[in-house]
Symmetry: C2
Amino acid sequence: MNVFSDIIHAMYPVSDESIGKLWAHAEIITLQKGEFLIKDGTVNRNLYLIKSGLLRSFHLEGDREDTLWFATDGDAVASMHSIFAKSPAIADIIALTETTLFQIPWTTLETLYEQCHDLANWGRRIAEEELYCLERRYRILGTGDAYSRFRAFMNLRPNSFIREIPLKDIASYLGMTPQTLSKLRARYAAEK
Amino acid sequence: MNVFSDIIHAMYPVSDESIGKLWAHAEIITLQKGEFLIKDGTVNRNLYLIKSGLLRSFHLEGDREDTLWFATDGDAVASMHSIFAKSPAIADIIALTETTLFQIPWTTLETLYEQCHDLANWGRRIAEEELYCLERRYRILGTGDAYSRFRAFMNLRPNSFIREIPLKDIASYLGMTPQTLSKLRARYAAEK
DNA sequence: GAATCCACTTAACATAGATTAAGAAATCAT
DNA sequence: ATGATTTCTTAATCTATGTTAAGTGGATTC
């Protein structure tokens, strides 16, 4: 599942010809653990498809990090703010493990969306799916008190790639301090 | 700006022929103030375009309401959860004032997206724009303490349709109680 | 045009979760 | 391997915000 065409196909049935056109403009990027894909305040108007690895998007507010999402193999990633407002990104994206990505410039995509009907639908599907994820993320994890958010998170994905994510990042994703998360984990284990 | 074709055009340049195809499947809906467009727990697989009025999306958590967004003239509205997961919606949408909408079934849209290249791009643009809005909503208003969220909100849209929204709903949008919002408003007025 | 109901404000009190601190465990670098 | 960071946990305070309560004004209903 980490070949370029497989990633595209998993999202929407695109013709080989169209995939070829995407591929012609794709560049392969590798990030080491701790390296930034996008820095808050810099312009980045690319779409990224994760071949393998683990990314985290967050924003630095004073000395507190607010984590927006995690992404892994096969996921699409971009700074919509940079792309739409045509201005610097308003969040950081960092690699949690060594990560390999396909990079495609947004301007190229805009052109291809005009040229190829199937790519337009592929682009639509990506945006719709992201939207669906974000809607769920906030409905399920942005609501209730700290413990109910934690439980909702545990129910959501008990044993996926989330295992590899440091607890401090999960705490920030759930909108609490690592200390609070630690307490809730102890409580959760006891209640089970 | 409240004719069907104008709303479509404001999003993406779609041909008259394609707009005609959309129009053939559109139904006009009118909601009175306080009426629900979508009830949490019911399936609703339609896209709505607001001709005029004001909507609020929220989720009832115990006796606390969490407001996700407000929408007004020209905005697109749908329950992505209902559409994608093909299951009941996970939030309510209610009319804050008398609201008139164009309703188009999602299954129809899927068909038209396959048929018409320009509609596929129009659908893509809707999803991307919504994504951009949601990204900003949480980056700007889901971060920091109550007062900084309130200030960010004031800077964002000091004098738009937001004026018509009851303060209790704005409080819920900003993740605080009406009492806290009231205190912050007094503080804000004093500091200015 | 009362009467009733909400929306909004103010204030006293209560509490969930932040902050601070410090030790244990894991990871990283030399 | 060994020392140095960094992560995770536990525990004692502290504070921002929720909760409860009560009063005012504006809107809605009969």
